[in-house]
Amino acid sequence: MRQLKLHPFLLFSASLLLETFPIPRFLSFYFPSWVLLFFIIAFLYSTLSSVFLYGFMAGLFLDVILGTNIGSNNLIFVTIAFVLIKWIRVILQSPGIQLYLIIFIIFSLYEALNFILSGFIQISLSQINIIQPVVNTLWFIMISSVFNFLRIYKKSHE
C-alpha cells in the first residue's frame, strides 16, 4: 500500500492551495477538508515519516488560513496523527469497507474535535456539520482508488 513515492511536501502544498480556493456556497458541502484528507493520504500512501511534525505544521498553516485560534488545528492534527500511528496496523490490514469505516471514524473525530474547540457552548447541536465526515470519506475512497490504480499499473509494468 505504501509503495508509491509521493512527496508529502507536494501533497501538503497542494492541499493548502485547494484550501485557499474559494468555492460557491452550494458546493462547499461537497468539498472535503483538503489538508486533513491529504495528510491521511500522505501518511498511508507515501513516505511520510515525521507524522507529528507534519500534523503540527499542517494545523499551524490551517489556523492562519482559516483565521482560527493558533493552536486549535495543531491540537486536532496531532491527535489525528496519534490515532493514525496507534491504528496503523489495523488500518493497513483492514479490507475494503472496514478500512473506509476506520477512515470515517477518523474524519468524525476531526469534526468532533473541531466542534469542541469552536466552543460548543455557543453552538446548538443542529449546527454540527454531520455531512462532512461522509463527504470526506467519499473523497478519500475516490482519491485512494486512484492511488491504488496507479500502484497496480506501476506493478504491472515493472
Binding site: L16, P22, V64, G67, I70, S72, N74, T79, K86, I123
Partner: protein, 275 residues
Amino acid sequence: MSLDHIGNHQRLNVSFKFFSLCAVSLFLIYLDLSGNITSYVRRAIALSVYPLYSIYNFSIDTSQQVSFYFLERDDLYEQINKIQAENDELNIRLQTLESFENENQRLRDLLNVIPREEINFLASTVIDSSMNPFEHRIVIQSGSRQGVTIGSTVISAGGVVGQVFSTTDLISQVILITDPDHAIPIILPRTGFRTIAYGIGNETELSLPFVTPDQDIEIGDRFVTSGLGNTFIPNFFVGEVIEFSEGQEGPFANLRVRVGFEVNQVNEVLVLNKN
C-alpha cells in the same frame, strides 16, 4: 510505520511526542487568546502562505482575461453603453451630493461644529472566505503595508461588510457583520432610533433583539452605522427592514433586517480609515 517491530521505548517516544505537542498546542491557544504574542507567528506564516493567494489570483485574472478575449463585439458595446449610462447617472448624483456637502459644511462652520474626520478609501480584492455557521470571515489582499489597521471599516457596493480584525503585511482578515460574534451600532436616520445589530450566522440577515414593538419602524426602513463606539465610520448603509411585528414571546418585537451585500458576490471592497 508498522508497529510490529516497535518496542516499548518507541511507544513511549510516540506518547511523549503526542503529549508534548498537545501541550505546545494548548500553550499556543492560550497565547493567542490572551494577547498579541502570536500575532508575530501569524504574520510570519501568513507571509509564507501569500504565494498561494497569488496563484489563486493569477488563475482568476487569467480566466477573466480569457473570457474577456472571447466576448463578442456586440456584447462589449452593450457593456460599454451600460457602464456609460451608469457613470452619467452617478455623475449627476455626485453633483447634487457636492452641493449638499458644501451647504452642510457652511452650516457647520456657522455653528462652529468640530470638523469631521477625513476618511481614506483603499480598494482591495477579496481573496478568500470562510463561511460556516460559526464564523463569517473574508480575507482581503491588503495589509498593514497598504495602511490597513485593525478596526478599519470594510464596505462594498451593498453597504458595510465588516471590520478588519487581524492584519499582516500583505493581507488582512475581515469579520463580517453577519458573524455570530459580531455586533454593530446602527441608527435609523428617519427617526434617529439607535440600537445594536448582531450577527447570527445567517449570511443575509442581522438580529436586532432589543427593539420594542412601539418603535416607529416600517418595512423598507434603512439602517446605517451610528458611529457609536468610534469603531465604524457613521452613515454607511447596513441593512433594510424586511419584517417588523410583535414578538411571539417576551416584550420585544420580531425585527428582521437584511444586509445589503451578498457574500458570494463580494469580490471588491473598500477599506475605510479615519485620517
